[in-house]
């Protein structure tokens, strides 16, 4: 494990386990399972087999020359741009790496039922898929608003045999789906595994999910060394709860590589209608972790807003809060409009429809390249985590392009 803090489950001052006592024994069991099950050979072999033959890993690292030309025609700032193609994973996003790992673990723990929360639906589809291939029943909680804007994924989950249960409270988005999943888990904790979809929530989830997602960064690092020689100057990923970003970052944390996360600025950070938790949040506790959260003076959680359902979360994984505090990683924001423009640009230059979540990372690429090239005094070489494909977002994109 690579927790930064000394206390288990803590990254500096962030992390911990803030849940009802009813759930504590299950979290302790899961934490023990990290050492006794997940990080031992038989599990790793089985999971890696699934990643290879079922998910299609390793995913390619694609050199995006036409996009680099479009972003920086003179190529003074952007030397090389390589995309880690998580969109080519089975089910279309990085979420499957985590879902297969957790459902496999749940089976080993003797759990007979899987629950999950989902925003964009990608994690719901991934969990429903993992549950189907491993023969476990699956219930997915999804905010009513997200059910409406991510209809293709709702259909996919249902076809995969999962029950999709709408979360009707609060903002009816990802955070409310997480509340409903926690309520279900408190009630059915003896039989049910809660497959958390991001590197967020109570310990051990941020560590478990990061360990399962670091396959992204490990592969990207090895592929980059092989194809590009040396290491990238900077690594970029979008941040919702932070799982694709931490999966990418973890492999590069020990290196002299700049790390950039991009959050959703929604309609603009200054409008209050955004999901820029690291940029605008305060220290608080949400969904079991001490982290940065969007919260008012009374401690009520604020609603987050983003065109992308997968970034629309008022909390963030605790390891990102710690990476920001320590200065090891930097976090920027991109607005709805910037993300939409970036999605169009990537499609036209590279022939790839990216998820709107990922489009936020693309939207800041030119700025990051400019800044890094100034620091390095040469064009920067950048690796970006292309976390998922955009088919699910076509109706939103069409709607917004009118």
């Amino acid at each position: 494990m690579s927790e930064l803090g000394e206390r288990p489950g803590y990254f500096g001052e962030f992390g911990g386990r803030f849940v009802a006592e009813t759930l504590m024994p299950a979290l302790i069991e899961l934490t023990d399972a990290l050492d006794t099950i997940v990080n031992v050979e038989p599990f790793q072999r089985e999971w890696r087999e699934l990643l290879r033959h079922y998910v299609g890993r390793p995913t390619p690292l694609w050199r995006a020359e036409r996009l680099a030309d479009a972003l920086d025609p003179a190529r003074r700032h952007l030397g090389e741009l390589w995309l880690k193609r998580e969109d080519l994973c089975h089910t279309g996003a990085h979420k499957i790496n985590n879902a297969l790992g957790q459902v496999l673990l749940a089976k080993k723990l003797g759990k007979t039922r899987i629950i999950a929360e989902t925003g964009a639906g990608q994690h719901g589809v991934a969990t429903a898929t993992a549950a189907a291939v491993m023969g476990l029943p699956c219930e997915v909680y999804m905010g009513e608003v997200d059910i409406a804007r991510q209809a293709p994924n709702v259909s996919r989950m249902k076809m995969l045999g999962a029950t999709v249960t709408p979360a009707l409270s609060g903002s009816r988005t990802l955070k409310d789906a997480m509340n409903e999943a926690l309520r279900d888990w408190v009630t059915n904790v003896r039989t049910t595994h809660y497959c958390v979809g991001s590197a967020a929530g109570p310990h051990p989830y941020p560590t478990l999910v990061a360990e399962l997602q670091r396959v992204i960064g490990d592969e990207a690092r090895a592929q980059w060394l092989e194809s590009a020689g040396g290491l990238p100057d900077a690594v970029v990923a979008c941040v919702g709860g932070g799982s694709n970003a931490i999966g990418m970052f973890r492999a590069f944390i020990p290196d002299d590589v700049a790390l950039f996360g991009v959050e959703a600025a929604g309609e603009g950070v200054e409008t209050g209608r955004h999901a820029a938790t690291l940029t605008e949040g305060r220290v608080g506790v949400l969904h079991g972790a001490r982290t940065l959260v969007l919260s008012d003076d009374d401690g009520q959680i604020l609603e987050a807003h983003s065109v992308s359902a997968g970034l629309d979360y008022p909390g963030v994984g605790p390891e990102h809060a710690a990476l920001m505090r320590s200065g090891r990683a930097r976090y920027l924001t991109a607005s709805d409009d910037e993300a939409l423009a970036a999605a169009h640009q990537v499609a036209r230059t590279e022939g790839i429809l990216v998820a709107l979540e990922t489009a936020h990372a693309f939207a800041r690429l030119a700025d990051i390249a400019r800044e890094e090239s100034r620091r390095l005094a040469r064009p920067a070489r950048i690796a970006l985590c292309l976390s998922g494909r955009g088919d699910k977002d076509l109706s939103t994109i069409e709607e917004r392009s009118k």
Partner: protein, 267 residues
């Protein structure tokens, strides 16, 4: 006073040969003035102790009844600060123990440094934080211990006997046994088993243990009293009664009659 006020209440109930009746309401639902009036009615009708719920936007351990009350209360200006104000007014007219019931985020926003003195000023005797398990919150616990305000631990059906001592370590006032694996407001909690476990915990920890979650009728309260538990918490039934009544007068009448029938069932 503080913890001593709680100890005295359990001693008095024990002397009468009955469990303490602990009534919960969400402060600010449907308004802070209504909550004050309802709290007075709960005490007048026979509640020995009050749990004042701080509304929270994301009450992930609560069932639909209390979650909805929380949402209404926030719209009506409910908050930790408002709950403290309510406690202060109750304290000026009653000596009944007051327990503040909250999630952690409102505490963090209020400020952990300023909370102990604020609880003292408001006359609150104990704090119960749903999402603060034994392993967390050492600083807050120490600060509250210093001012004799109890932090109430929760023991759940999933808590093993091996884990139990660490959960109740250093507890004062009382221990809360959650009768069912689930969120608040369940109607089918296994109360017989709960009473048995509660008595066992009380014997081991040498502290009163109250049973809560799922007590919603006088019959259930009577059964728990017959099983000689130290206290019974009634939450969702009261909150639901407040929500169902159309105006303040009927709200007061309804909670009065519910609590009076609960109290007499436990005699």
């Amino acid at each position: 006073m503080t913890v001593a006020r709680i100890d005295a209440t359990f001693a008095a109930c024990r002397a009468e040969g009955r469990p303490a009746l602990i009534a919960y309401l969400t402060t600010g639902d449907p308004s802070l003035e209504d909550s004050l009036a309802c709290a007075r009615a709960l005490l007048a009708a026979g509640a020995d102790m009050l749990e004042l719920g701080v509304p929270f936007s994301d009450p992930s351990a609560d069932g639909p009844v209390i979650a909805a009350a929380s949402a209404r209360a926030i719209r009506a200006g409910g908050s930790l600060t408002a709950a403290l104000g309510l406690a202060k007014r109750l304290r000026s007219e009653s000596n009944a123990p007051l327990v503040l019931f909250t999630y952690l985020n409102p505490v963090l926003a209020f400020g952990q440094e300023r909370l102990p003195q604020a609880l003292l000023d408001a006359g609150v005797d104990a704090l119960l934080v749903v999402d603060l398990p034994a392993e967390e919150g050492a600083e807050l616990r120490a600060a509250l211990a210093a001012v004799e305000v109890a932090v109430i631990p929760l023991v759940a059906p999933t808590t093993s006997e091996a884990r139990e001592p660490s959960v109740v370590l250093g507890a004062r006032g009382f221990i809360y046994y959650v009768s069912a694996t689930g969120v608040t407001g369940l109607g089918d909690a296994p109360l017989g088993a709960a009473a048995e476990r509660a008595r066992a915990i009380a014997a081991r920890a040498k502290l009163p243990v109250v049973v809560g979650f799922g007590v919603d009728t006088p019959d259930k309260a009577r059964a728990l009293a017959a099983a000689r538990v130290d206290g019974v918490v009634v939450g969702s039934a009261i909150v639901g009664t407040i929500a169902a009544a159309p105006d303040l007068a009927s709200r007061i009448a309804a909670v009065r009659s519910l609590v009076a029938s609960l109290a007499s069932a436990m005699k």
